[in-house]
């Protein structure tokens, strides 16, 4: 590993020298990198700094970078608030469920398509279609389908003689309903990623395994899963980071209700910032969820580094 690294560095160094790029390279670097740095700074870095600044400031709607008092009162209130801790746990559960089920459904679909002789493309296209429906519209449609009184879902359950719960107004069921809708919307992402990953696995591995008498399940466990690992782990992290910030699906389906049963951090931030105008408090929640997101990425990076070595 380290051998190849020094080798490649040496090649880069060697290829650079004859071109004579070293003279005035500082100016060159500044000119070439400048626009990108300014853009990233303005779009990503500045809002983050501003959010951190607001989270330790007064909870007004004025956003100022310099001056003003600095206090940790927002964080104090945050950490002492049951609403925040419940919302945090709910968000983590929501993220884990959505990512886990989406991955399972996507993998199941991709493996099933692989087992077909023909017609896989049609199935893949059909199952990828929810991916192009904007989440807010998907939530709208599902809200109508899952409607307790007029919804087609409960009508079908009624005809089948099954219980017909009030999917979105039952405080124990509402979060699961939101998860199902989010999975409907996220699973195509995993389907596409897993399909790509499966096609990268060499067929000869399966042939060798069959010659050795491996069962289908063993082939799945020892060839398919390890072969999918690089793509699947990236997809899982991306999807987890996306669903931890989901606003549109819970907002449209339940608006955080009933009685706060589906209030994720994103909804809590929105409500505090734009309904109660407690911008400082909302920023503090945002900073906490940023820390959690960064922690997820760091955990993933360490994990993937250790698995490669």
């Amino acid at each position: 590993m380290s051998q190849t690294k020094t080798n490649s560095l040496a090649t880069i160094e060697a290829s650079r020298r004859p071109l004579g790029l070293r003279l005035g390279s500082t100016v060159q670097v500044a000119v070439l990198l400048g626009p990108a740095v300014i853009l990233v700074g303005a779009i990503f870095v500045y809002p983050i700094i501003l959010a951190v600044r607001m989270s330790v400031g007064e909870s007004g709607i004025s956003a100022q970078l310099w001056g003003g008092s600095v206090s940790l009162s927002n964080f104090e209130r945050l950490l002492g608030s049951n609403q925040f801790w419940n919302s945090l746990l709910r968000t983590l559960a929501y993220t884990a469920l959505v990512t886990g089920f989406s991955f399972a459904v996507g993998l199941l679909g991709a493996v099933s398509i692989q087992a077909l002789k023909w017609g896989g493309g049609a199935f893949r296209t059909a199952m990828a279609l929810p991916w192009v429906i904007p989440p807010a519209i998907a939530a709208m449609v599902w809200r109508w389908i899952a409607d307790a009184q007029f919804g087609v879902l409960n009508e079908a359950l009624f005809i089948a003689g099954l219980p017909t719960p009030n999917w979105l107004l039952d405080s124990q069921l509402a979060l699961l309903t939101v998860v199902v809708v989010a999975v409907w919307s996220e699973a195509p992402f995993f389907l596409i990623m897993c399909s790509a990953g499966l096609q990268m696995i060499s067929k000869s591995l399966y042939e060798a395994a069959m010659l050795d008498g491996a069962t289908g399940l063993q082939q799945f466990r020892y060839i398919t899963l390890p072969g999918l690992r690089p793509i699947a782990s990236v997809a899982i992290v991306l999807s987890a980071l996306m669903s931890i910030r989901h606003y549109d699906i819970p907002a449209v389906l339940t608006g955080g209700g009933p009685n706060g049963a589906t209030e994720t951090l994103a909804l809590l931030i929105y409500r505090n910032a734009f309904q109660y105008f407690r911008v400082g408090y909302a920023s503090a929640i945002g900073v906490v969820s940023l820390i959690i997101s960064v922690a997820i990425v760091l955990l993933f990076l360490r994990q993937s580094n250790s698995s490669r070595a």
Binding site: G109, S112, L116, V141, I145, F150, E155
Partner: protein, 72 residues
């Protein structure tokens, strides 16, 4: 060996495809339905010809600035 796996795979795909496409179908079907038929129970799986209407689309085009950017 492979033949045994093909049937369950097909069943799984049919279930997944149905659940992927049904909400989209339902959205399209509802968009062509009259207001009164939407709230009629039980809902019908297919849109009945008497309930067909384009007035929802007419409303969208007339009342919301969908074709304008920036919205007026």
């Amino acid at each position: 060996m492979k033949r045994f796996r093909r049937l369950p795979a097909l069943l799984v795909l049919l279930v997944l495809t149905f659940s992927s496409l049904f909400p989209i179908y339902w959205m399209a079907k509802t968009s062509f339905a009259t207001q009164s038929s939407i709230f009629r129970r039980p809902p019908t799986l297919l849109l009945r010809p008497v309930d067909f209407t384009l007035s929802n689309y007419q409303k969208v085009l007339e009342q919301s600035p969908v074709a304008l950017w920036p919205p007026a």
